[in-house]
Amino acid sequence: MEIVIYGVINSVTLVLMALGFTLVYGVSRLPNFAHGALYVVAGYLTWIFMNRLGLNYGLSVLFALIVTGLIGAAIYQFVLIRVRGMPISEIIASYAIGLAILEGLRWGGLKGSTFTLPPFVEGSVEILGVSVDFQRLLVVLIGAVMMSSLWLFVTRTRLGLALKGMAQDERAALTLGIDSDRMAVVAMALGSGLAGLAAVTLFPLGNIVVEAGYNVLIMAVAVCIVGGLGSWTGAVLAAFLIGFAQILTVVYLGAHFQVVVALIAIIITLVLRPSGLFGRQKELEERV
């Protein structure tokens, strides 16, 4: 029972970490390697708004998400737009920005255990004989709300539909007046906001540390590669696959093998099915 409950929680955690990354890649074919840095930035901003400016928790979270989204949009508008279409340069540029942000924060004093966010709700509850704290339940709840509202957004709103069109066929979208650069800015803002949401949901479970940025990036990349780059269904499925695999390893092998699982998953996927579970890349190449 423990395995099932903590497996679900861990899987939804991975979904939260990866969804922003896969959204940006799906819409704009941009691998945003600053994703992990934006995650840490959102957590740190929330802490600053609360402890330095004295705002209440909810407002701090809201402002932090907005600012993180704006930072993401700015990264595209001022940097990535110049290297768009050159995949290697996109990775180098975004990773460089991510490194600069993370190491800048570390240099600026973001280390140790002084930086923590309180859980949204204190306490814990017993489910089917397993004790789970409320924050971990909230992770699942927020993950579910996030996935369903994202689904509503891309099937019901004009902007969301435009993003979906751009994700499927850029040239067809262009003929319909959907601007590629504008959609990339929107996707980056949204993706960064989602990274921020993941951060404020997950940081109360531990300290705000720079290392979380690297960890989140690895997890996001692993989930996206296993699921098939740019596929949302694939990402969710892969998150559950890796999430449960991790919990099983923790239970049967030991906690320090946890990160290895994600990396092994990447290797197995690349060997057996390079386009991932739901990837389209390879099929497209074959058809052309």
Binding site: R84, L161, K164, G165, A172, L174, T175, L176, D179
Partner: protein, 248 residues
């Protein structure tokens, strides 16, 4: 209303369009005919501005150097440097070659993505209009775009373009790979769109027979150059055109 003058397009040193000039008046249907690789799609991409996007991508990827020269006037403004999304907004909408339906979206969703530039009211009215001219689509609203037949996909592609509220609709090889029955049905629909919505249309096609009767004026492209032009009657009476495109 729409006039292109002296269009030249080079892929590296290969001349794809050689000094092509064409015009389209309000409420007209213009035909562009030519064999494979005559430059039809290049012309359509140049008119819709997609060529600028292809050019940018090639430049970024270090691929082919594409050079575009000439002048395109739309309602008295030179739009040569205008990016494709802005041209669509101005009313020049391309229905691209091979349809390019969004395969993972349903028919309805494809149409709604097409309505990105439309107001809520325009989108509603156009959606209704699309279902009147293509009743087949109405039964398929929840089918995924990728699972449609060629004819259905083409109807959907035209419908999706209409959702973008075009003043000038560019149809690139709309009859490609379709059965003769569907070809004539689509040709009729294209004329109806012009008659009922007052949309000007430029249609390119390799197989001239079904399209020829509905055009007001046409051009024959050969090796990137417009070699013959005239009204549909003039084209059909031209012995060269007759032997090349009607096989008699």
């Amino acid at each position: 209303m729409f006039e292109a003058k002296g269009l030249m397009v080079f892929y590296e040193n290969m001349l794809a369009l050689n000094n092509v000039s064409l015009g389209c008046g309000v409420n007209q249907i213009i035909g562009v005919f030519g064999a494979n690789s005559a430059g039809k799609s290049t012309l359509m991409y140049t008119l819709s501005g997609i060529m600028l996007d292809i050019q940018k991508k090639e430049e970024m990827a270090g691929g082919e150097r594409i050079t575009i020269r000439g002048e395109i006037n739309f309602n008295g403004v030179n739009i040569m440097g205008m990016p494709p999304a802005h041209r669509a907004k101005a009313g020049i909408v391309l229905c691209p070659e091979r349809r390019r339906i969004f395969p993972e979206s349903t028919v309805l969703e494809n149409l709604r993505i097409g309505g990105y530039l439309a107001t809520a009211r325009q989108a509603r009215d156009t959606l209704e209009y699309v279902f009147t001219i293509f009743p087949a689509l109405k039964r398929l609203v929840n089918r995924l775009g990728g699972f449609l037949s060629g004819g259905e996909q083409q109807m959907l592609a035209i419908g999706r373009s209409l959702m973008a509220q075009p003043k000038l609709l560019l149809l690139d090889e709309p009859l490609l790979g379709l059965s003769p029955v569907i070809q004539y049905l689509l040709a009729k629909s294209i004329r109806n769109i012009r008659d009922e919505r007052g949309t000007s249309i430029i249609v390119s096609e390799q197989y001239a027979r079904p399209i020829m009767p509905i055009i007001d004026y046409g051009y024959i492209l050969e090796n990137g150059a417009a070699v013959v032009e005239g009204t549909n009657k003039e084209l059909m009476d031209n012995p060269d055109v007759k032997s090349a495109y009607f096989g008699s």
